[in-house]
């Protein structure tokens, strides 16, 4: 296998540099009500790592002082952080586009139902992962009963206007393969999801993002145990597309972990590779000028972002043919 950095050199794109910071992504904790088989964060209900109120306010201050277009909140299940509610209300007052990546099924639980109101009231954009529009396949990856609870919440969100044209309330879905293969093109999968979701579930959403499973965390364990690891790496490398490099998400994102440490992306968080720009890699020392031209810490896992039409938290990176 050719190393990723070598591959970038071959197409004259090494070293990889950030272009700007447009997306401020916060991972507010590793606790989750689920334990999905593909989870790269390896989140569980037992995790105690949750972003503190102090780190939330340090982030809020940075957001206020800078003009990032988007605040993107992820986890774990972000709702399980007790400070999320207050933070969202504060951010919403500043009119910043705010995304919460929710597994949705947590909103079935009584103590978390309030977030449906909070999201609606504050115009929070919701991104929710649904590996497949068919019950059996999704439940195989996410656990029995997941699909039905997910659809129940989508119905509630649809009633509030989420996923409906013209309401201004956005519900986007994420597809990731249920196994050791790459996702197909976004338009093809989006139309299949839309067809099945509306005809079979009477459920509606705005857009579908396709995300490649990264060979890290629990998905790496699966690849290893199922004997798919070597072939998966090979598939990723063979599918390397230089056209994705320009828009790699690390080039316009900064990713904060629950302790306030700074990373190029959520994956580098999992791999414990903090930003490498010679300045304190923590929100307490946030320095936009150096961060927005920083050197990205690339590695072989980056092949997960450059395969095919590319992959990021916002889906594909390169235009389809």
């Amino acid at each position: 296998m050719t190393g990723f950095d070598e591959k970038l050199r071959q197409v004259s794109r090494f070293p990889l540099l950030a272009k700007a910071i447009d997306i401020f992504q916060m991972n507010v904790g590793k606790r989750c009500n689920l334990q999905c088989r593909h989870c790269h964060v390896q989140a569980t209900p037992a995790h105690r790592e949750l972003m503190s109120a102090e780190t939330f306010s340090a982030c809020a201050k940075i957001i206020e002082n800078n003009s990032f277009s988007t605040v993107d909140i992820t986890g774990g299940a972000p709702e399980m952080n007790p400070h999320l509610d207050e933070f969202l209300q504060g951010i919403a007052r500043k009119g910043r586009r705010t995304i919460v990546r929710s597994n949705l099924v947590i909103l079935v639980e009584k103590s978390y139902r309030k977030f449906i109101d909070i999201y609606e009231k504050n115009g929070i954009e919701i991104i929710a992962s649904l590996p497949d529009p068919r019950r059996e396949k999704t439940d195989r990856q996410r656990g029995d009963g997941f699909f039905q609870s997910f659809i129940d919440i989508v119905h509630e969100l649809n009633l509030r206007g989420y996923g409906r044209e013209g309401s201004g309330l956005v519900l986007n879905l994420v597809h990731n393969p249920v196994g050791a293969y790459l996702p197909a093109s976004q338009p093809a999968l989006e139309s299949e999801y839309r067809r099945r979701m509306s005809a079979e579930q009477q459920a509606f959403f705005n857009h579908l993002f396709c995300i490649t499973n990264m060979p890290i965390g629990r998905f790496l364990t699966y690849l290893n145990q199922s004997g798919n690891l070597t072939e998966y790496w090979q598939t990723l490398e063979n599918a390397f597309n230089p056209g994705t490099v320009e828009n790699l998400m690390c080039r316009n994102t900064i990713s904060i972990d629950w302790t306030g440490a700074l990373f190029d992306c959520d994956f580098n968080q999992v791999l414990e590779l903090p930003v490498n720009h010679g300045l304190p890699a923590h929100v307490s020392g946030f320095d936009l000028d150096s961060l927005q031209q920083r050197l990205i810490r690339t590695g072989d896992h980056c092949y997960g972002c450059t395969a095919g039409l590319g992959s990021s938290c916002q889906g594909e990176l390169a235009a389809s043919e």
Partner: protein, 110 residues
């Protein structure tokens, strides 16, 4: 020759262009257009390609198109239906040739 039909052979496929550039490039342009969405969707074309791959016994294409079906969210039951369509077509094509046999017999037998 060490082994026939190795998975890694497929990586060499795009490189056939090296030995007959113009024909190779024209073939790949045609291949890409014919297998991409047109009036038929990408799903429909991929299922057709899978059925053809199975009927033509091409291990490379079976691998490539099974993976593409998975990527497109096509279930294994749907894939199996497509392969049955191919199998039924092959059986039908064979049996339809029995009409030639019957025609000759009818003409030749007293």
């Amino acid at each position: 020759m060490a082994d026939y039909y190795e998975k890694k052979d497929l990586v060499d496929f795009p490189l056939i262009v090296e030995d007959a550039k113009e024909a190779g490039e024209k073939f790949f342009a045609y291949y890409s257009q014919a297998t991409s969405a047109g009036l038929l969707s990408e799903r429909e074309k991929t299922l057709i390609a899978l059925a053809v791959a199975a009927t033509q016994h091409c291990p490379y294409c079976i691998d490539a198109y099974t993976n593409k079906c998975l990527s497109l969210g096509i279930s294994r039951q749907e894939m199996m239906e497509a392969v049955h369509t191919g199998a039924a077509m092959q059986a039908g094509v064979t049996l339809a040739h029995a009409t030639q046999m019957r025609k000759i017999c009818t003409q030749k037998e007293m």
